[in-house]
């Protein structure tokens, strides 16, 4: 039962990884803006404080839904490393994100509601990508679990160039980076105040933060999946991708939702669809 232990390890270690990553991100962003920036462990301080703060429940469902959001995010990673079918993992990942949309949509603030609508739009834009990515990985390797893909003796990445490029674009959405941070943003100076999280306070906001740490860790695991033969190379690839995201975040303005939808769909359809289609045509 080796794989179950990996799953458990993910549940415990992923928040540490994600939180630290967020800390590095904030510091590097600050340096790019010629500031010093917060301490490295700032995200942990923030979440620690939020957990101690009084929570204002706007309605009875938001709390359970956000708890569901965290649990399903953790479950996505656990199932991935625990050896579940990759396509199934992609669906659970989508489900986890849906919990957040439902929680934000259940609040009666117009900002939160519009944020939820926008999140739904970007979810529709990004989810097909993950399913196509999993389909591509399965097609190339012929196996369908995380462990088996890692054990597959050949690199899968060279056969999936379109998916690698699209990954960068979709990760911008998932990591909530400018230009695609339309539903919420870490720099809350936008027309929707804090978008999705406008109505969440205290513990609930901490859930969203922790779920986001899981999300970063899951994306990292996906990168490792694509660079299947050596996990250090996968980690480095994720690091490079993340650094690019931070750089772009600091060098662009926020796009409008139409452009987000258009560019992610274009990336998914043309790059991923084309890539997977090519695999089937060549593989035949």
């Amino acid at each position: 039962m080796n794989t179950a232990i990996y799953g458990l390890l993910f549940v415990v270690l992923a928040p540490l990884f994600g939180g630290l990553l967020a800390g590095v991100d904030r510091r590097v962003s600050a340096r790019m803006q010629s500031r010093i920036g917060p301490p490295l462990l700032q995200p942990f301080y923030d979440v620690g404080k939020l957990l101690q703060k009084k929570t204002r429940q706007v309605n009875p469902v938001a709390g359970p839904l956000l708890l569901g959001h965290v649990i399903f995010m953790a479950a996505t990673g656990a199932l991935l490393l625990g050896g579940t079918d990759l396509i199934f993992v992609a669906f659970v990942f989508a489900l986890a994100a849906l919990f957040l949309v439902l929680a934000a949509g259940s609040a009666n603030s117009p900002y939160s509601f519009t944020g939820a609508e926008r999140e739904l739009i970007v979810l529709l834009a990004s989810e097909p990508f993950f399913i196509l990515m999993m389909a591509g990985v399965c097609k190339v390797s012929g196996v369908s679990t995380f462990g088996d893909v890692l054990a597959y003796p050949q690199w899968v990445a060279p056969q999936l160039p379109g998916i690698l490029i699209a990954f960068l674009i979709v990760a911008t959405i998932k990591l909530r980076k400018s230009p695609f941070d339309i539903s919420t943003s870490h720099h809350p100076h936008q027309e929707l105040v804090s978008g999705l999280t406008t109505d969440m306070s205290g513990r609930l906001l901490a859930y969203v933060e922790v779920a986001h740490w899981y999300e970063s860790a899951i994306l990292c695991a996906f990168m490792v999946l694509l660079f299947n033969r050596s996990w250090p190379i996968g980690l480095v690839a994720f690091g490079v991708a993340y650094a690019l995201e931070v750089l772009v975040d600091n060098s662009t303005s926020r796009a409008k939702w139409q452009l987000v939808l258009r560019s992610t769909w274009a990336a998914t359809l043309v790059l991923c669809g084309g890539n997977v289609l090519a695999l089937f045509v060549i593989g035949r």
């Binding site: 590097v28 340096r31 790019m32």
Partner: protein, 142 residues
């Protein structure tokens, strides 16, 4: 016109990443203030002749002078540091310090006064006065 592939800010972001941050590490690093900077009003009770001109000219009505009670008081939280009282004072009892006043908490209010209230009085009309014992002394606050 804008070329979608050029992101002119990328270069600046990268350059900032390696350059020294512009941040001045206040409160660990304090820049000496410029000579003429207007901070807070300082009062010298020994030279004041209670002419009340500062009170009359203060646009914020922060200064109160009472000839009968021999009280000169200022609400620092109301003062707008416009420098008018310093300009009109014929006895040069008032001066403008370059340093702003430190933030106050409600507990800083002395004798039931609002925080930031400072007053001086002379015990008798002809004594060359020291600050009243219960009033906060400017030295202790600065």
């Amino acid at each position: 016109m804008a070329n979608p592939l050029t992101l002119p800010m990328v270069r600046r972001s990268l350059r900032n990443l390696v350059a020294r941050p512009a941040t001045r590490k206040y409160p660990y690093e304090i820049r000496p203030s410029f000579g003429g900077a207007r901070g807070k009003i300082e009062f010298d009770v020994t030279t004041c002749n209670y002419c009340m001109l500062c009170m009359r000219r203060c646009p914020a009505e922060a200064i109160r002078v009472s000839r009968e009670d021999r009280i000169w008081s200022i609400e620092h939280l109301r003062c707008i540091a416009c420098n008018v009282c310093v300009e009109v004072c014929s006895k040069k009892s008032l001066s403008m310090s370059n340093q702003p006043r430190k933030p106050q908490t409600p507990a800083d209010g002395v004798d039931g006064q609002r925080p930031g209230h400072e007053e001086w009085h002379l015990a008798a009309p002809d004594t060359t006065g020291a600050p009243c014992p219960d009033a906060e002394t400017p030295a202790a606050k600065a």
